[in-house]
């Protein structure tokens, strides 16, 4: 007989004060599902306990190996806020690794996007062949699987996609405790969307349950990252509390969670800010190449909530501090007019003496026709030849451009990648209802292994905090980072849509007037018409007719 699945649920909230006075909160909810239905001969799974049934059915129906979907409002400002725990581009991003037994990957991809659009109330059904690419090197699996054949990978972004309460509602319903207990009670849409950055994501991957990998499990991570701006949400004061951020305090942990913790990053305490209530529980973690110290509040213990049965943190700022991230990037469109333009991507390496390679992936829609012969990569005003280039040209109305390059960044330098493009003229039915807004180009993705200042731990520990265990660490001296650039908004030559109506009216008028006149000229005959004579003359003519005498004129 089968042993029941041992599901496990952990929830965690990390609060990181940012040097500019803003505050970054990152929620992670992780469900481990002890089953492996991708194995041959495994019976169909029908019992779901903590893992949501809608996602479980999606995984088994479409033979999904890994699924990552994120919805983001706002742009992550790396220069002011540092690196996020889980990066994401503006709009919606979906990338999926399918199992190697799938025969029709494109068909599965199309159906999967439709099903996900129903689950998350988003227009993911707009993902089709014209905006899907198969990156060859950039999106390697984050979970188990020695998948190296990129034919089973699909990646698409929808930079225009809006995130609002209608996307948060089904996301919250996937959690075991819903939004009724635990950390999810803090998720009130009126506060979450009144922020500088809001990103919610779902990541599903298979992982090993132990060091020797004797048993596998499915891991579902639901993450929500939000940055509150001290000007808009903070009323200008550099002082934060849970109540001020979320308009709620915590009253209990989720009863189904095996661990429920709140971490506050106090590495810059006491110079930068002060924290209350103080706690003796401290934890150190090496995350994003830096050793940080955290105050830990365990919500499964009753004393965290104190006398009032409610837990509220308070952080007050004291000074300012500069933060320089090692890697960040920007992108913009140069040029003028509606015919040509140039895309510039600028990547900064702020490490004082180490050079490292980065993998740049660009996916440009077909209506911006790239001229790859104008591609230049310059660092410190010298040509920098990439060591690996994978380019797939676009096919009109069929697939987008895909450009992947491995570029070595010299230390303490700025690297600029430029490529010229020409704007295409779309067919008049292909324009959106608001074409004067412009057309979006998805963010570029820069993936890199950045040298770490502190040695990272490659040991496998079951009770690592969730925020440090998202990306598997393969070597000690570097950590994996993914930086997204801004999306671009490009104006295409837009026709005047009232012109067909104007043309028809004008043409018909001209034809009517011209043809009418011509026809009249040819076929009209003139007859002289006598005016009727006065009464006396008519009477006289009548009498003359009777008499038989010629009539008067």
């Amino acid at each position: 007989c089968m042993t029941p699945a041992k599901d496990q649920f952990q929830e965690e909230l990390v609060i990181r004060p940012l040097h500019s006075g803003d505050i970054y909160a990152s929620f992670q909810f992780r469900t481990l599902w002890d089953t492996d239905f991708l194995q041959e001969g495994q019976k169909k799974v029908s019992h779901y306990r903590l893992f949501p049934k809608s996602l479980g059915q999606v995984l088994s129906k479409f033979s999904v190996q890994e699924l990552h979907i994120s919805f983001t409002q706002g742009f992550w400002r790396t220069m002011q806020w540092g690196q996020p725990f889980i990066p994401s581009p503006p709009g919606a991003e979906l990338w999926v690794w399918f199992h190697h037994t799938v025969s029709d990957v494109d068909g599965n991809w199309k159906e999967l996007t439709n099903v996900l659009s129903g689950i998350f109330c988003a227009s993911l059904n707009f993902i089709d062949m014209t905006n899907t690419v198969q990156p060859s090197a950039s999106f390697k699996p984050l979970g188990l699987g020695n998948a190296t054949d990129h034919r089973f990978l699909r990646y698409a972004t929808l930079p225009r996609e809006i995130v609002c309460t209608e996307n948060l509602t089904p996301w919250k319903k996937l959690l075991p405790c819903g939004s009724k207990a635990g950390l999810a009670v803090l998720m009130k849409s009126e506060k979450l969307f009144h922020s500088s950055f809001h990103s919610q994501a779902v990541h599903i991957r298979p992982i090993c349950q132990d060091e020797q990998c004797t048993s596998k499990a499915w891991e579902l991570r639901q993450t929500l990252n939000v940055v509150f701006d001290h000007y808009t949400s903070g009323q200008g004061k550099k002082e934060w509390s849970l109540f001020k951020m979320f308009s709620r305090t915590l009253t209990e942990a989720c009863p189904l969670a095996s661990s429920s913790k709140v971490y506050v990053d106090i590495t810059d305490n006491p110079e930068l800010f002060e924290l209350s209530p103080a706690t003796p529980l401290l934890s150190q973690a090496v995350v994003l190449g830096d050793r940080r110290t955290y105050s830990v509040y365990d919500l499964t213990r009753a004393e965290t909530f104190g006398q009032l049965r409610s837990f509220n943190l308070l952080l007050r700022w004291k000074g300012d501090n500069m933060l320089r991230p090692l890697l960040h990037a920007e992108r913009y469109v140069a040029g003028f007019g509606l015919q040509t333009g140039e895309i510039h991507t600028v990547i900064y390496n702020n490490h004082p003496y180490r050079a490292f390679p980065v993998l740049l992936m660009d996916s440009v829609p077909w209506y911006l026709q790239l001229y790859i012969h104008t591609l230049t990569v310059t660092s410190k005003s010298r040509d920098n030849k990439p060591s690996y280039i994978h380019y797939q040209p676009a096919k009109d109305r069929h697939r987008p451009h895909l450009l992947e390059m491995l570029i070595q960044l010299p230390p303490h330098s700025m690297t600029e990648v430029t490529v010229q493009f020409e704007r295409a003229l779309l067919k008049w039915t292909e324009y959106t209802p608001d074409p004067n807004h412009g057309f979006y180009v998805g963010s570029s993705v820069i993936s890199a292994l950045v040298p770490s200042m502190v040695a990272m731990s490659t040991n496998f520990t079951q009770d690592q905090p969730l925020f440090s265990s998202f990306v598997p660490v393969k070597e000690e001296s570097s950590y994996f980072v993914r930086v997204y650039t801004e999306p671009l908004l490009v104006n295409l030559p837009t026709p005047d849509f009232s012109m067909p109506y104007n043309v028809i009216c004008l043409t018909c008028t001209v034809v009517a007037v011209g043809y009418g006149s011509f026809y009249n000229l040819l076929t009209r005959t003139f007859q002289v018409d006598e005016p009727s004579p006065p009464l006396a003359k008519r009477l006289a003519n009548f009498i003359r007719r009777i008499r038989g005498v010629p009539l008067l004129a």
Binding site: S117, C121, F126, H194
Partner: protein, 330 residues
């Protein structure tokens, strides 16, 4: 329970009460629908059309409050107002100035949004001709026992309704779509409400049975918006839907308000335009149609543990034919 308790009393109480019981039982079986659906569409894009989204969301809110679940509501919003960058209070859509009522709420599920709200998608939802990969939440899975509420709002004219400033649906197309729905047995009764300028022109061409229609203005008249909010900077709602929302806030699931009350909503003194309605294609008398037959999801189920003896075989047949009458009503 009340009705069957009355029938139970018949055994011991003289025949005089039986007429009352029979009318109550007749009313119980009169409607003939078993489930409710709602299709709520806002067809306007751009920030200055905030009021159309607020209109649709207020009907959505009333319909959810009276019992129709999200799985039976197809909500189509052509633009996002709540999380629009121009909205000074994100994740909210207000229906009343001074920001009294947030009709967007915390538990909203929008099925079609943004560019997906097109004439083609709307007609496909109504007729059920959707691609096989369409998820359930985007389908109108009604059957011949469903009462459907269809609400449209946006900018319209004499005989057409504008979708997203780039295409139109004409009243003939809408009438044909309803006829397709009738022939495919996709509805039992249908209530059509439209809040646009010259809205009455949209229901002029209907020809399928069991349709009742309401519009906010007659042909040649404009429907007006209600009041602007100075903090948000746009008009928040249209007059007709504002008074409709006020009326619906008084309705609760057990309410006995009927369609004649709905026809009286927003007379010309309040609305400036003259609301119109059309009931000639509808079988039942509007006075006997409850508001909750369309706006709510009142289940006609009573559970009892006792056996009920109906008085005589003749009376029982009358109840059953009363129930079957609507099924043979073709």
């Amino acid at each position: 329970m009340r009705i069957f308790a009355f029938i139970h009393l018949l055994v011991s109480i003289p025949h005089g009460y039986s007429n009352y019981v029979e009318t109550k039982a007749g009313q119980f079986f009169s409607s003939g629908h078993t489930n409710n659906w709602a299709v709520l569409v806002c067809t306007s894009r751009f920030w200055f059309n905030y009021r159309h989204v607020a209109n649709t969301l207020s009907v959505y809110r009333s319909v959810k409050r009276l019992g129709i679940p999200d799985s039976h509501i197809v909500l189509m919003l052509a633009d996002d107002m709540a999380c629009n960058y121009r909205n000074p209070k994100p994740a909210t859509v207000f229906s009343h100035k001074n920001m009294e009522l947030n009709v967007y709420g915390d538990d909203v599920e929008v099925d079609y949004r943004g560019y997906e709200v097109t004439v083609e998608n709307f007609l496909r939802v109504l007729t059920g001709r959707l691609p096989p990969s369409t998820p359930r939440s985007k389908r109108l899975l009604s059957d011949d026992r469903s009462n459907i509420l269809i609400y449209l709002t946006g900018h319209g004219g004499n005989g057409f309704l504008k979708f997203q400033d780039s295409e139109e649906i004409s009243n003939m197309e809408l009438a044909d779509a309803f006829e397709q729905m009738w022939q495919k047995r996709r509805y039992n009764e249908l209530l059509f409400i439209i809040d646009t300028c010259q809205g009455a022109s949209m229901y002029e061409r209907f020809y399928s049975p069991n349709l009742m229609a309401l519009a906010s203005s007659q042909v040649g008249e404009d429907s007006l918006s209600h009041q602007p909010d100075l903090a948000i900077g746009v008009h928040l709602m249209d007059k007709y839907t504002f008074y409709l929302l006020e009326f619906l806030e008084e309705v609760h699931p057990a309410s006995q308000a009927n369609m004649n009350d709905l026809f009286k909503v927003c007379p010309q003194s309040q609305c400036v335009s003259t609301p119109g309605h059309r009931t000639d294609l509808f079988q039942r008398d509007p006075g006997s149609v409850l508001i909750t037959d369309f706006f709510g999801s009142v289940r006609k189920v009573e559970i009892t543990k006792d056996t009920i003896n109906l008085t005589s075989p003749v009376d029982r047949k009358k109840y059953i034919t009363g129930f079957l009458c609507c099924q043979t009503n073709l």
